[in-house]
Amino acid sequence: MNFSTDVQANGVAILPEILMTVLAVTVLALDAFGPKSRRRELGYLAGIGLLVVAVMVWLIGQWPERELSDQLVLGGMIRHDALAQIFRTMVILAGALSCLISMGVPRLKIRGDYYALLIVAVIGASLMSAAADLIMVFIALETASITLYLLAGYLRDDDRSTEAGLKYFLFGAFTSAILLYGMSLLYGFTGETNLYLLGNWMAINGPPDAPVVLALALIAVGFGFKISAVPFHFWTPDVYEGAPTPITALLSTASKAAGFGLLLRFLMAVFPPPELVNAFDVHDYSQFWVQLIAVLAVVTMSLGNVLALVQQNIKRLLAYSSIAQAGYVLIGVAAISTDRSGDGVAAAAFYLFMYVLTNILAFGVVILFANATGSEQIADFGGLARRSRGLALAMTVALLSLAGIPPAAGFIGKFLLFRAAVDANLVWLALIGVVNVIIGLYYYLVIVKVMYMNPAPDDAAPIPVSAPYRWALWLTAVGVILLGTVAVTPLLDWATDAAHALHVLI
């Protein structure tokens, strides 16, 4: 297989990263040398800059697809395909919205270095979505992770934040060492670092199952951490609770989405289903990871939902909820099928896209509420509907989407995932998913009930909503509703393109 040598194609493939690097450096320079009085506007610069890049990636994604060999650009380091485009759009969008909601946090809003680090994290996540070589996978993963460790511990005068940073760091460095060992074994089996060449070699030359399963297990630990799947989720509640809330939003959306994008590409390229290999009598390692992922999906969504039931703190609740949501997406990963329209990859991509918007919306409301009241307890959300009708409505949209109630996008997302599971003969998995959705309904709707039915505290005052917030909340709330109604078809078409990009004959 040859890699693309077209200079123009190579340039377009990393244009978003180049622009984001320029943006990060500009923010840093303005922070250091710009007028101090206008520092507050750095958040606008970072947020709107990322938003522009996200739209640009989406536009590039509308260009016609090219041959596989033309898509593997820059020496096969990244693959410029529909899957990369849709996941990049998600993570950059998540980054942009996180910048906007950071502008309401007193200790973050004027710090240019904070926005610069956030942009670097987004660059890492964006490269993760496209990486097609073990070396690139590793560097992209670490670029995203290391900056996120720093961001999680950014409020160094806040014990919870630094502890969250340290805990995240120790777990992250540990699991990435395990992942790396698995990758070194894959390199050793084949002598290749490119994911596609590697997978092709393995399928045709077929090492015995035991060493491949061992390497797969080591790699699953690393990815499991990134997407916070059970049993690699220990860090999630503490880190989500302790980190600055906009970073929690970023962790639960961009980092998780990029992890899934990478996971999908990695599994499909390195352990391809036999239909995708252009040879006779190939080894099928995909059966192992389908079983593994199905089991992970069951434990992840069940444990996440059950533990979410007992939470009192809204950030912890959203942390367990995000674990459960990752479990639903894993259903889509397990429900991979190479010949049907109801495809797991498409469903997972669709689900993650709407999940990114939904979670940012929820965390945006949490930040505003915490700033105004100093509380993150669910009980204190009482009477929110009377204190600020807009906020209560926004939170309701987010919760309905997470719970899977129409017209919010979560309903369609869950429907697509379960349909993909049924199509892939994993009916039992779909049934467990449905049971979990029903458990989830309870704790999401309790919050809605608290906001609308419970009385407000005596000293309740209206909650002010600043301009960047109004923008971010409106954008996401409308997005969540649109994705659940009229925008389903365009997004699903795009997600299906992304799925087809993985189903290529190597």
Partner: protein, 198 residues
């Protein structure tokens, strides 16, 4: 395998590596642990020399031993009371031991001549190679060129530079930042401590 000079050197370096590593995880005194870490990393550098990777051996000495462990020793000295703690291990160490031992057995089983037991004939042949092809003479030049070649490893190289920049900025911010109070933003960083992190 005959007993050659190379084999003896290999065994010595392996013993240094593994013995040092064991001391790192077992010894009570953190400062000693850091010194053992140096020893262990030195053994790894020796293994790199045996594997005809002199550049990496040099990088190992300069980066790992010269920079990372020194940084760790700085951190140990800046956080003094931790060296006096009596209980250094978690109580569930048997579980960890079992896990590590299980993984070790699995790795050895699949990567040594034992692997032929797994059923695929000749699988372990890859692992019993004793006389690999020679390393090309321009290997080092190739390594350097490949890092700046857009058709090879330029992209990860650039991404790594971005990562280092972010790590540098972030680390400096965490340990040496004037004040989080927005009102004090304009004031000079008089109260800031000198950066001790090295």
């Amino acid at each position: 395998m005959e007993i050659t000079v190379e084999a003896i050197v290999f065994l010595v370096f392996s013993a240094i590596t593994l013995g040092g590593a064991l001391q790192v995880v077992l010894t009570r005194n953190l400062f000693h642990a850091a010194l053992y870490l140096m020893l262990s990393l030195f053994g790894v550098a020796g293994l790199f020399v045996l594997l005809t990777a002199p550049f990496l051996a040099g990088a190992q000495v300069v980066i790992y031993i010269g920079a990372i462990t020194i940084l760790i020793i700085f951190a140990i000295m800046l956080t003094p009371q931790v060296t006096r703690v009596l209980k250094v291990h978690h109580t569930q160490w048997p579980v960890a031991l079992a896990l590590a031992a299980l993984l070790f057995v699995g790795l050895v089983w699949t990567q040594t001549p034992l692997a032929d037991e797994l059923g695929a004939d000749g699988w372990s042949a890859d692992f019993t190679v004793e006389d690999p092809a020679d390393v090309p003479a321009d290997s080092l030049t190739d390594l350097g060129k490949s890092l700046v070649d857009p058709e090879r490893y330029m992209l990860p190289f650039e991404a790594a530079s971005l990562l280092l920049m972010a790590a540098l900025i972030g680390a400096v911010l965490l340990v040496n930042r004037p004040d989080d109070n927005p009102d004090a933003e304009a004031a000079p960083a008089a109260g800031a401590r000198p950066d001790q992190s090295g």
